[in-house]
């Protein structure tokens, strides 16, 4: 009686497959990791301030990716759909803020309405309005998209929804490229506020405009601070929303089992709409911040950042919100370090190579839980 149970429960007795010559693969990975660490470390020792500067730019990129990655990871977690059109929602967010600022000067309304307002307050309120407007437009766009294109395909095979997502993405990109919409040119972006930069060298000092910061110093700007603060704030809000509120519980229930959630009285369609909406709002915020930071926009702006944000979501474990955050930071660093030390065009290649490597070692991403494959 006893031996039968022990032989089942002790793993050492059971034949464990795929163990022979494992050192070859592990050695290969070790060589790769040592190579990466060597390149990074040698550069860190050679020029620490340059390294710091590169890490900061990587953080900036990573925090923007984190904002976009949220939408991907939430939508995928709930409807198992790679929403390619999410990247174009991001682009629309950037363009809405561009029109609000450059055409309609919407960032100046506090000055016009309240003449006595302090300039700082005016800039904060004005920029906040522009961002809010972008977020609202993006939300409306995403909800419409979900209603028109994705909802009729809820019960169709997954490939149909995926092709539809690709179609919506193409549509937004090329419709945006028409001359009476956004045009296909690169458009210089006008910021709603002035850039203020600081440098770190024996303490933090303000960079005087028109004057270069001293050598061997790390500079950062208020844009960097805004992106970091906004991104962390969004993460916290979302964590609260998903963990503590009723709609968050409904979202988690829907992602776990759609049928059971429906039986428990959850309006699944509404929850899915809400997920799209909230992802799009953050993508809109990300779009504005990306445009502010990199100050040039065009109708295919969303393509590569969107793809990398999705890769970041996969890297962190798709469906996991902290995972998307961590994955995005890793992507940002990988890209910035590649641009700094290897070559600029290789940034995309390195980003995807990292994805493939991480998936090989941990097939469900860093924070992902092993899931059973549902066809």
């Amino acid at each position: 009686m006893q031996p039968a149970i022990t032989s089942q429960s002790s793993p050492s007795k059971v034949h464990r497959p795929k163990q022979r010559l494992a050192w070859i693969g592990q050695g290969f990975l070790l060589v790769l990791v040592i190579g990466i660490v060597y390149v990074v470390a040698s550069n860190l020792i050679k020029a620490p301030t340059l390294f710091g500067q590169i890490v900061l730019s990587g953080l900036q990129l990573g925090f923007v990716y984190a904002l976009i990655a949220l939408g991907y990871t939430m939508v995928y977690g709930i409807v198992k759909l790679i929403n390619f059109a999410h990247a174009d929602v991001f682009m629309v967010g950037a363009f809405v803020s561009y029109y609000a600022v450059a055409r309609f000067s919407m960032h100046q309304w506090p000055v016009a309405v309240f003449p006595g307002i302090s300039p700082t307050m005016a800039v904060i309120i004005g920029s906040g309005t522009v961002i809010l407007l972008s977020m609202i437009v993006c939300t409306a766009l995403a909800v419409t998209m979900e209603r028109v294109a994705y909802r009729p395909l809820r019960d169709a095979p997954r490939i149909a929804a995926l092709i539809t997502a690709i179609g919506v993405s193409f549509f937004l990109e090329y419709f945006g490229a028409l001359s009476f919409v956004f045009s296909s040119r690169f458009i210089p972006y006008q910021r709603p506020f002035e850039v203020v930069a600081w440098y770190i060298k024996d303490g933090i000092h303000l960079v005087v405009p028109g004057q270069a910061p001293p050598a061997q110093s790390i500079t950062f700007s208020n844009i960097f601070l805004i992106i970091v603060v906004a991104s962390i704030l969004v993460q916290l809000v979302l964590q609260y929303l998903v963990r503590r509120t009723k709609i968050g519980i409904a979202m988690r229930a829907t992602s776990f089992d759609k049928q059971a959630a429906r039986l428990m009285g959850i309006n699944v369609d509404q929850v899915i709409s809400f997920t799209f909406a909230i992802g799009a709002a953050f993508a809109g915020l990300g779009g504005v911040l990306y445009a502010v930071a990199y100050s040039s926009i065009y109708s295919q702006l969303g393509l590569l950042p969107g793809l990398k944000a999705f890769v970041a979501a996969v890297l962190g474990g798709i469906g996991s919100i902290p995972g998307a955050f961590v994955g995005a930071l890793i992507m940002g660093q990988a890209e910035a370090l590649t641009m700094g030390y290897i070559s600029t065009p290789m940034r995309d290649a390195v980003a995807f190579s990292i994805l493939i490597l991480v998936l090989l070692v941990r097939p469900t991403g860093i924070f992902g839980e092993p899931e059973k494959e549902k066809a």
Binding site: Q19, I24, G167, F170, F171, L178, V314, P345, L359
Partner: protein, 459 residues
């Protein structure tokens, strides 16, 4: 005016498509002479249309010819993806990357050849053949010592391939320096750079490019195919992007100055004729059909239906997925070679990741798991996009490409809403239909079975 032109072109292309379907019917006929007659008639009719002029203009002008060749290459690429995704269920976006690899590899061979350098042909040819032998040899080793983890297998294969590549580089350049004066010197073009030898080199370049793409797909697919479906899709999309980045940097990161990086490779000899396009399309269709309706094909489809059940039946699931992926990529590489030599100009923009969705769209349009549908969709798709460009180019000027892609996704959405299983579902026609297998209960079948048992017993 433009519209009339377009309608005539549509009619011509669809007559050719009908001719190809007729050919498929003829190939499905049990008698050999019907099959051969079908091949000769279809080839001859299109060849005549391409070479006869009526009233000062060709029956098939250059525009139609370009569409025809483009459609043939897209059919090859689409059939490959249908094997991977439609029949084996692996969602891949890497097909476009393998297409690009095939195009650049084949173009480089012939480009170097006509410029008096045999090294492209020799290095790649020796390289792919040696690497193929090496892969088979390492595969035997791996099967002998089972339970080797995938990453270790990958490392072994990678080291083996790199070693063979290095050997091929040494041998190939050494031989090439001896042959080069016979191809072309500063004064004259030698006998090897024209006529039949050039055609043979062209044929070999496409074959080698296809095998090259297949071997890369083997190395890439071995570790990556262990991922789940969506992860595999993203990894393959990443592969396409990496390939595209390398194409942009062929002259900086990679040592190929003649590919000119992002400016695009020019001066590729335009060697693709209807004969070659037809030959390779037919070869791909026949290989594909014979694979699908063989034991291997049924294995491939059973893996799509249920991996666990297939494993229970003793099927090597990982090996089957890899096989389908490699064959599909081989077709993509062949298609790329044909494409490169008809267009004569390769730019990384053609192979960017937005275009990576094209084969997928073709396969889904035609119907997953329908070879007939893929061929029709490849022709229809090519025509639809180019035709729309024609219509809008007349009226919109430079806005035309954007307008084209405004209507294209709308039709995509409508198709997905109205007919999500694709135009033809999984219907097959003529030659591509599965043969009806009659049970054969003859005494020698039993005898063959017993002799197999004996052999195993002796061993």
């Amino acid at each position: 005016m433009e519209l009339g032109f377009l309608v005539i072109s549509i009619v011509k292309i669809f007559i050719i498509l009908a001719a190809i379907y007729g050919l498929l019917w003829a190939l499905g006929h049990p008698r050999l002479w019907v099959k051969l007659a079908g091949i000769v008639v279809v080839f001859g009719v299109v060849q005549l249309a391409l070479s006869i002029s009526v009233g000062g203009s060709m029956i098939m002008n250059d525009f139609d010819k370009g569409l025809l060749f483009q459609a043939a290459t897209m059919a090859m690429v689409g059939l490959g993806l249908n094997l991977i995704y439609g029949f084996n269920g692996q969602f891949s976006l890497g097909q476009w990357g393998f297409y690009g690899i095939g195009a650049y590899a084949a173009a480089d061979i012939t480009y170097r050849w006509v410029n008096g350098d045999a090294s492209g042909l020799l290095v790649l040819g020796i390289g792919v053949l040696l690497a193929g032998v090496m892969i088979l040899w390492i595969g035997r080793f791996i099967r002998k010592y089972r339970d080797i983890p995938v990453l270790s297998q990958f490392t072994l294969y990678l080291l083996g391939t790199l070693a063979t590549g290095f050997i091929a580089l040494l041998i190939g350049t050494a031989i090439a320096s001896g042959i080069n004066p016979m191809i072309k010197t500063a004064e004259s073009i030698g006998p090897l750079a024209q006529g039949l030898p050039l055609q043979i080199v062209f044929f070999l370049s496409i074959i080698f490019a296809g095998i090259f793409a297949a071997e890369i797909s083997f190395l890439f697919g071995l570790p990556v195919l262990t991922l789940g479906s969506d992860y595999f899709g993203i990894a393959t999309l990443g592969f396409t992007i990496v390939v595209n980045v390398l194409m942009v940097n062929t002259d900086t990161i990679l040592p190929f100055p003649e590919m000119r990086g992002g400016r695009g490779m020019i001066g590729i000899p335009k060697l693709t004729t209807w004969f070659w396009a037809f030959f390779f399309l037919l070869a791909v269709i026949i290989i594909m059909r014979n694979v699908i309706h063989s034991t291997t094909g049924r294995t491939i489809m059973s893996v799509r239906e249920d991996e666990t059940a297939s494993r229970a039946m003793g099927i090597d699931v990982a090996g089957t997925k890899l096989l389908a992926f490699v064959i599909g990529s081989l077709f993509a590489g062949l298609g790329g070679g044909v494409y490169a030599h008809y267009i004569g100009f390769l730019s990384p923009g053609t192979f960017d990741f937005l275009a990576a969705f094209n084969p997928l769209i073709i396969v889904v349009f035609g119907g997953l798991g329908s070879m007939t549908g893929t061929i029709a969709a490849a022709f229809g798709w090519t025509f639809f996009l180019e035709g729309l460009l024609r219509v809008f180019l007349g009226q919109m000027g430079t806005e035309a490409p954007s307008w084209r892609f405004v209507f294209y996704p709308i039709s995509l959405l409508l198709l997905m809403l109205l007919r999500p299983q694709g135009l033809l579902g999984s219907i097959e026609w003529g030659f591509l239909k599965p043969e009806i297998i009659r049970p054969r209960l003859k005494p020698e079948a039993v005898a063959v079975g017993s002799s197999v048992d004996d052999r195993q017993g002796v061993k």
